[in-house]
């Protein structure tokens, strides 16, 4: 039984009627096992049906529900109301993205960047199906397992001040996924990806703030992935300089 209430201060923006985004307050009852998403659903279902936000799985795996909660990029389905400090839960759309409506932002730019880093197994020759699977030992999976956990929630882009200043920056998640494929023992496409990544708007734009890894709900550690990519890119650069005839995988 809910015997306490909380104020949700939500950033609204309705393109057909608002010139600027503005806050709207809602006082709602809550219980200790409610997450911020439950609060938003309560508001939409009972108080204000115009409130708009993305969500689906409610278990932190689909990546739909990213938002800024009291200034920190978080998934609304994983943030318990009781853990938010203060009597007001301030919900903004994820920073660094253009706002479509209320908490819904446009991140098509990320999908273009994802496409650029060739996020698939890239080989000169495919093994025929009849020969079965590529052998991959558990330790080899471990080499890329962490980065393979990315749910594309965009919290890392929301947290990254470099992306906030420069929208061309390829960004944490795209880099982490590129790294995931480079480190996959079955892949042979490292060179093609490093060409894309090792540019001014690629990994070299990263100044290792590290906030992306702090906010990542799946512990992907994109910051670590980018720094490792910098090392890989540098080594490759040196090789090409000193031993131009050397072809590496």
């Amino acid at each position: 039984m809910a015997d306490k209430d909380v104020v949700f201060r939500v950033k609204r923006y309705r393109p057909e009627r608002d010139v600027e985004p503005h806050y709207q307050d809602y006082r709602i009852p809550y219980t200790d096992d409610m997450v911020v998403l439950d609060g938003l659903n309560y508001i939409k279902d009972n108080v204000d049906p115009t409130l708009t936000y993305r969500w689906s799985c409610r278990m932190g795996i689909c990546g739909s529900c990213g938002a800024s909660i009291n200034g920190t990029p978080r998934l609304t389905c994983e943030t318990f109301i009781k853990e938010v400090r203060g009597r007001t839960v301030v919900v903004d759309p994820m920073p660094n993205f253009p706002i479509l409506k209320d908490l819904v932002v446009d991140f098509d730019d990320f999908l273009r960047k994802l496409h650029e880093v060739r996020p698939f197994i890239d080989r000169k020759e495919e093994k025929p199906l009849a020969e079965g699977e590529y052998i991959q030992f558990p330790e080899e999976i471990e080499a890329y397992r962490q980065q393979s956990m990315c749910i594309n929630c965009m919290l890392c882009y929301a947290a990254c001040p470099v992306f906030g200043a420069s929208e061309h920056f390829i960004g944490p998640a795209a880099s982490a996924l590129a790294y995931r494929y480079i480190r996959d023992s079955r892949d042979e496409g490292a060179d093609a990806r490093l060409d894309v990544l090792s540019t001014k708007t690629g990994i070299w734009e990263c100044t290792f703030v590290g906030e992306c890894s702090v906010v990542c709900p799946k512990d992907v550690d994109p910051a670590g992935a980018i720094q490792n990519l910098k090392v890989l890119a540098s080594i490759r650069q040196m090789r090409q300089l000193l031993m131009p005839k050397w072809t590496r995988r």
């Binding site: 923006y13 393109p15 600027e20 985004p21 200034g71 920073p95 660094n96 993205f97 253009p98 706002i99 479509l100 446009d106 001040p161 906030g164 200043a165 100044t207 290792f208 703030v209 590290g210 906030e211 890894s213 702090v214 550690d221 910051a223 670590g224 720094q227 490792n228 910098k230 090392v231 890989l232």
Partner: protein, 126 residues
């Protein structure tokens, strides 16, 4: 679509961003220290009187305060750098990556040892 606009002072709203800005500023400050050392060599080259006058200027309260501030920035720069080293471990002596905390500790120990050696050379020993 409403375009994203970053607010000035974005780095004041998050302690880690503040630390980041301090770290980056620390890089600039380290460069300043380098220039100061070079200038000290110039004054030394000009002779004892010039060098002593320079040291006297550095000993004024204002100068000491400024130097302490700059030193703090260099410390922040060094410490945050050590905290970051563990995050990417392309060269490894162990099978699994070391915990970032361990790498930090190793670097602190090495830093203390090297600093100790430098101080020994400057003030004692040779």
């Amino acid at each position: 679509m409403y375009p994203w606009k970053r607010r000035a002072g974005w780095w004041l709203r998050n302690p880690r961003f503040l630390l980041f800005q301090a770290r980056e500023a620390g890089g600039f400050v380290s460069a300043l220290f380098g220039l100061l050392l070079l200038y000290m060599l110039v004054r030394y080259h000009e002779g004892v009187a010039s060098y002593d006058a320079f040291l006297a200027m550095l000993s004024t309260p204002v100068a000491l305060t400024v130097l302490a501030l700059l030193f703090a920035f260099v410390m922040v720069h060094a410490l945050t750098w050590f905290l970051l080293i563990g995050k990417a471990q392309p060269i490894r002596f162990t099978k699994k990556p070391l915990r970032a905390g361990t790498v930090f500790a190793i670097n602190i120990v090495l830093w203390v040892l090297v600093s100790g050696a430098v101080l020994f050379v400057v003030f004692g020993g040779l």
